[in-house]
């Protein structure tokens, strides 16, 4: 007979005082997620490679720097306008590697599949991964498959981990950011989250809103070609949106960020959907976007390179770094007044009235 572990003997290194159980918000990408990471995982595993808590880890293998990242995909619905859980799983990890200033090369794919999941659906997911990997120029080189009892999984969960080679002479990090740096984004925001919401809630909009899920390895390469060392920081704003990503950057860099609301690109259909639902596009998830913090003198050059690339045709300069209000993101609203932009603390909830 198996003895179950005696949980009463386990002492948590940093008690998460308020919660006795894990909440949905702990996985939401906002403040509570950050708290869980800081107080549990970093406390337990703490090491200098982990500590920057960037999208991926940068390893040194005998002189060659490698970027290493992992991501798990539990999204519902599994199939959505613009992609499915498979393509997302490839794009997500490829992008995390790219955000380290690295060329993504190799992925692993781990599947946890619920008994009874359709074989046709599984094939569609895998085919999407094949195509996404080919387009991104990466190979899926190892993997694992588990099947769990019916009712013990949500159809399918996928984990991908990825390795890439960090480019020579490039070092991405919050410590490289300086006052005066420019903040760039490669295109219109909030599309993925709204696309998902529209399927999940059965909402229909006049224009079809598709997820922006895409691999950004090529775009980042073009940006690094144009800007080199002047590219200080890269982040892909997934859960929690552009706002949370920038807030994290402001916190780790210990500098202030100023955003111009009028300059942040949002497609009209997405803006309309956000208005109806009462969502702020700055907090809605993206899967094909990157925000970059670059030296001011290189901003125009890098923007030009982005706009010449298919994943950056609508790239825009949306703000700047300042030594004022360190750790805070301040937005100049359309009407010319300022407000603070914070990390979300949970999920955005739709308006009532």
């Amino acid at each position: 007979m198996r003895t179950l572990p005696d949980l009463s003997r386990i002492t948590c290194p940093a008690p998460l005082a308020r919660y006795a159980t894990v909440q949905l918000a702990h996985g939401g990408g906002g403040r509570l997620s950050q708290q869980l990471i800081d107080e549990l995982f970093v406390q337990a595993f703490g090491n200098p490679i982990l500590e920057p808590l960037h999208d991926g880890a940068v390893l040194n293998a005998g002189g060659q720097r490698l970027a290493f990242s992992t991501d798990s995909f539990v999204i519902q619905p599994l199939f959505f306008p613009g992609g499915n859980i498979g393509s997302l799983a490839v794009h997500g990890t490829v992008n995390d590697i790219a955000m380290c200033g690295a060329t993504p090369l190799w992925l692993s794919a781990g599947y946890i599949i619920e008994e009874g999941f359709g074989m046709k659906e599984l094939c569609a997911v895998v085919e999407a991964m094949r195509e996404a990997a080919a387009q991104a120029g990466v190979q899926i080189v190892t993997g694992d498959t588990k099947v769990v009892d019916r009712g013990k999984g949500d159809g399918i969960y996928i984990n991908t981990a990825g390795v890439g080679l960090v480019r020579e002479g490039i070092r991405i990090g919050a410590d490289r950011i300086e006052a005066g740096d420019a903040i760039l984004v490669n295109g219109p925001i909030a599309e993925h989250g709204i696309a998902i919401m529209s399927v999940r809630e059965g909402l229909e909009f006049e224009t079809n809103i598709e997820s922006d899920s895409a691999a950004l390895g090529g775009l980042v390469a073009a940006m690094l070609d144009a800007g080199g060392e002047d590219v200080h920081m890269l982040r892909d704003p997934t859960r929690g949106g552009v706002a949370s990503a920038l807030d994290e950057i402001a916190t780790t860099a210990r500098l202030g960020l100023r955003l111009q609301e009028a300059k942040v690109p949002v497609r009209e259909a997405v803006r309309g959907a956000c208005e109806i639902l009462g969502f702020d596009p700055l907090y809605v998830a993206n899967e094909g976007k990157c925000v970059a913090v670059v030296a001011r003198r290189a901003a125009e050059r890098i923007l030009a390179a982005m706009r010449a690339h298919e994943r950056g045709t609508e790239a825009a300069l949306i703000g700047e770094v300042t030594s004022d209000h360190p750790g805070r993101v301040v937005l100049r609203s359309q009407v010319g007044a300022d407000r603070i932009v914070e990390r979300m603390s949970g999920e955005q909830l739709p308006r009532i009235c």
């Binding site: 909440q23 359309q334 007044a337 407000r339 603390s345 308006r351």
Partner: protein
């Protein structure tokens, strides 16, 4: 015309700000009733555009914030029953009850589901004939007709597994309670634009008369709010009172008669306790006698519910406009959106959450 960007244009906003500055010759205090208006004011930083002599205070127009803690506890108790599905608008899920909130109950195994509207709850009831489906019906007069529709639909479908937990509140009695209070500081009101879209503004005329205050039904975009403020301040400076309609593209004097009929078919006024404020006579809505079988409070006996409010939370003073969130000692310290002590910090319409999200550490004009 999409009615969004046109109402957010900076040159027009600056023009209104200038006009307001030219109009005021003395200090005035204006209250916006609706939490959605509070958030718009904070989100667009409109207070920064106003002269210092104009003080904006934020009213109790957040139906989530004013839901009594007992009702939250009751909703949680109902959700914890194995045979029930508790459905609710998103905001209510995070409002703290005495021990926990609905999301906490969900993570402990209760079947709690977020819906966008009451009719979604009816759909769930139809799809789960073996379970009791309860809709936490919260709202001012804006959402009440939609909630009434759900009851009507359930009645027509002959559903015996659908009921509502009613937490409806009405604006006019709340306004009278504020104006009649000895510590009232408010000189004029921006009335809630969407409430007035449903109810019209006839009900406000006797109130404006009796208390000699200007009341201006106002929209939610920056230019709406600035225009509404300008109208109120112009009336105040001229020593005039009465109702003037800013939100003309949505509000008429009589309102939406069909919605009102729907409301009256299902609900009738009752006394209602407002969290942090107290009982305001005739300020709530309850199911009419012939429809009480749809009342979840009657259908489910969850025993005695003893509510415990946080001793630190000053929601009452916030909701009456007597204090602003930064004046609360717990604001941003013990009380944050992650660990709220009271409803105004949770709700997307609550004053405390508006200040925390948009203005913490900035521009505090207390």
């Amino acid at each position: 015309m999409k009615y969004v960007d046109e109402y957010r244009r900076e040159p027009e906003a600056k023009r209104y700000a200038k006009a307001i500055a030219h109009t005021v010759t003395q200090p005035w205090t204006v209250m916006e009733i609706c939490g959605g208006q509070t958030h718009a004011i904070m989100k667009f930083g409109l207070e920064q555009l106003l002269p210092a002599s104009v003080t904006l205070v934020h009213g109790p127009g957040c139906p989530v914030c004013v839901t009594p803690i007992e009702l939250i506890d009751r909703a949680i108790a109902i959700a914890q029953r194995p045979d029930t599905i508790l459905t609710s608008f998103g905001d209510m899920l995070r409002v703290p009850g005495s021990e926990t909130d609905l999301l906490g109950a969900k993570s402990a195994g209760a079947d709690v589901r977020m819906v966008y509207g009451a009719l979604d709850a009816v759909k769930i009831a139809r799809n789960h004939p073996d379970r009791q489906v309860v809709f936490f019906a919260v709202g001012f007069e804006t959402t009440a007709p939609g909630n009434a529709m759900a009851v009507i639909q359930a009645e027509e479908l002959g559903l015996d597994n659908f009921s509502i937990l009613s937490s409806h509140v009405r604006v006019p009695p709340a306004m009278e309670a504020l104006l009649g209070a000895p510590d009232n500081v408010v000189d004029g009101f921006l009335a809630a634009g969407h409430v007035c879209t449903i109810m019209g503004y006839r009900e406000y005329e006797p109130i404006a008369e009796k208390y000699r205050v200007p009341i201006v039904p106002t929209g939610f975009e920056p230019l709406d709010l600035l225009q509404g403020l300008h109208m109120v301040l112009t009336l105040l400076e001229a020593g005039r009172y009465g109702v003037q309609n800013q939100y003309r593209r949505s509000v008429t004097r009589d309102g939406n008669l069909h919605a009102q009929r729907m409301l009256a078919r299902v609900f009738e006024p009752c006394d209602r306790q407002w969290r942090g404020v107290g009982t305001i006579p005739a300020s709530g809505l309850k199911l009419r006698a012939e429809l009480t079988r749809f009342d979840a409070e009657q259908r489910f006996d969850v025993g005695q519910v003893t509510a415990r409010e946080s001793e630190v939370c000053i929601a009452g003073a916030i909701l009456k406009g007597l204090k602003k969130p930064p004046q609360c000692p717990a604001f941003g310290v013990e009380c944050t959106p992650d660990k709220p002590l009271g409803a105004p910090m949770v709700s997307t319409e609550g004053a405390c959450s508006a200040y925390f999200r948009y203005a913490r550490g900035q521009n505090e004009r207390t």
